[in-house]
């Protein structure tokens, strides 16, 4: 196989004395959707943020597009067009939807703005009527769409999505997952998706990783992982009923 777009090798991360990542290895190739599942507190969000340099890894190496980004400051990693829609959405509440999207285009070529905006509004038509509204007044689902749209405005080579379905009604969850699929298939965006909603995520993803307590314990093709008994018992019980 060719060199991965993102490779994480032996990464450890600490919050003070608490070790959240205990040596993580993971690869993402161009064009893939890769998902990471795991229980609450396993370290999924920490891995996402460590890839973006906040907090920085204590040991290990993170390579992106052939560059070592382990010690780069967060804003410089963003300039390499690695975008994240982080946990909790983090919409700028006192900025309008349009301004939030403009913030997403911070590292993008200004000439592309109109076209990229159009694409985002095509994916998430609900944002269109809300462009002049403050981010903080959107509903949870709209905020999630805005968070993903904002990340897309940089034309990312790799898009990190941290629990985009959290707290959303099933219909909205389906819309978000459909948007991710379209992005990957039509726009060729590589996606790294963290999910608690393991069933949907594994069905959508080409490959998946399972994280337990700061370590990767399982990996494989998305649909294969779905059939694994340890995944079924730990992450899928009842999930299908949704």
């Amino acid at each position: 196989m060719s060199e991965p777009l993102l490779s994480v090798r032996g990464v450890t991360t600490f919050y003070g004395r608490v070790q959240a990542l205990k040596g993580v290895d993971l690869d993402i190739h161009d064009g893939e959707i890769v998902t990471l599942i795991g229980a609450n507190g396993a370290g999924k969000s920490t891995l996402m943020m460590t890839i973006c340099g906040n907090p920085q890894a204590r040991d290990g190496v993170i390579m992106f597009a052939g560059r070592d980004i382990t010690r780069l400051p967060t804003h410089e990693i963003a300039r390499l067009r690695l975008a994240q829609a982080p946990e909790g959405r983090r919409i700028f509440p006192r900025m309008t939807v349009l301004e939030n999207l403009q913030m997403g285009a911070t590292v993008a070529d200004p000439a592309m703005f109109a076209r990229d905006l159009e694409r985002v509004l095509e994916l998430f038509p609900r944002l269109k009527q809300r462009l002049a509204q403050r981010g903080g007044t959107l509903s949870g689902g709209e905020q999630q769409m805005l968070a993903i749209g904002r990340a897309l405005m940089s034309r990312p080579r790799l898009l990190l999505l941290d629990e985009p379905s959290l707290g959303l009604a099933p219909l909205l969850v389906r819309q978000i997952f459909e948007a991710i699929r379209l992005l990957n298939q039509q726009d060729g965006v590589t996606v790294f998706l963290v999910e608690q909603n393991a069933y949907h995520a594994l069905k959508l993803a080409h490959r998946g990783y399972v994280m337990v307590n700061g370590r990767i314990t399982l990996s494989g093709k998305g649909r294969e992982l779905l059939e694994r008994p340890e995944v079924k018992s730990a992450y899928l019980e009842g999930a299908r009923l949704q």
Binding site: H75, P93, E99, T106, V107, G136, G140, R150, S154
Partner: protein, 305 residues
């Protein structure tokens, strides 16, 4: 009525100066959550830069056109004061970011003392004065021999303040830098994830705050014709009061607060007692903090969880 109108004119003039300084307090507070106690002294330094620039221009360079001299003085004051504030942020505040909350405040008090002492030592402890830059006035109307006047100085202050506020508003509301600044105020971690250089944005905030203080300093010097090393303190506290009254963190609040403090001060001096005018302004600070801690334009938090 004539007294009232005259005080209105004077109060708006004074209030413009306070408003320009207050913006600096409110911007810095907005982005790093710190009351920059040295800001009043930055304002004072700018008045000295303006004074030196004016003397150099008129005495040595022999520039006699007042509008040109005033423009150059303004530019010089804005440039050097911005530089000073940029350095202050780098050496005195940035290394303390992430330290305990009081650390940058203490450092700011230290910077305040350093600036006023430095000016005292290098410029002397006495008032420094300049020959009047601008003279003349317009008599708006006269009643029973009491003229209501608008001096050219006041007109210049109004005009310059208005022009700067418009450009400043444009910068904050419509440019990429302004957006980055507001983003950093709301969520620095997210701003960085989107590619905003947070450190640089904070630096620029100090530069802009100082530039506006320098406009105030130049206007102050032109208006009163004198400045002393201790002139950072009282205008500084009043501008801070203005920022608190308007709602610290709110830019329109700083401007409105500045105007209100200017008006309160002049009306108090005219109708009650000029000796207690500073007390009036400080009472406003105390009353605001007790009864309206979020200020007039206090942030309506619309965040949903």
């Amino acid at each position: 009525m004539e007294v009232f109108l005259q005080q209105l004119i004077n109060g708006v003039t004074l209030g413009s100066i306070y408003g320009l300084i207050a913006i600096g307090y409110t911007m810095v507070f907005g982005i790093i959550g710190m009351v920059n106690f040295a800001h009043g002294d930055v304002f004072m330094v700018s008045a000295f830069v303006a004074l030196i620039a004016f003397l150099v221009l008129t005495a040595w360079a022999g520039i006699s056109s007042i509008p040109i001299a005033l423009l150059i003085v303004l530019a010089a004051a804005m440039f050097f004061t911005s530089l000073v504030n940029w350095v202050i942020e780098r050496v005195a505040y940035r290394p303390l970011r992430g330290s305990f909350r009081l650390a940058p405040l203490i450092s700011a008090i230290g910077m305040s003392i350093l600036l006023s002492n430095f000016v005292q030592v290098t410029q002397g402890p006495r008032n420094k004065s300049i020959p009047p830059m601008v003279q003349g006035e317009i008599v708006l109307y006269r009643h029973n021999d009491y003229p209501v006047t608008l001096s050219y100085k006041q007109l210049i202050i109004w005009f310059v303040t208005a022009a700067l506020l418009v450009s400043f508003w444009y910068l904050v509301a419509r440019t990429k830098l302004g957006r980055a600044q507001r983003a950093c105020e709301q969520d620095q971690k997210m701003a960085a994830l989107l590619g905003v250089d947070v450190d640089r944005t904070i630096s620029m905030t100090f530069v802009i705050a100082a530039a506006l203080a320098a406009v105030a300093g130049t206007m102050y010097l032109m208006y009163y014709g004198v400045v002393s090393f201790s002139d950072g303190f009282v205008p500084g506290v009043k501008a801070f009061t203005a920022a608190v009254l308007g709602g610290i963190g709110s830019l329109p609040g700083a401007v409105v607060g500045g105007l209100l403090i200017g008006l309160i001060e002049t009306f108090w001096s005219a109708y009650f007692s000029i000796d207690y005018k500073d007390v009036a302004a400080f009472s406003v600070l105390a009353i605001t903090l007790i009864f309206l801690p979020q200020g007039l334009f206090g942030r309506p938090d619309v965040e949903k969880v």
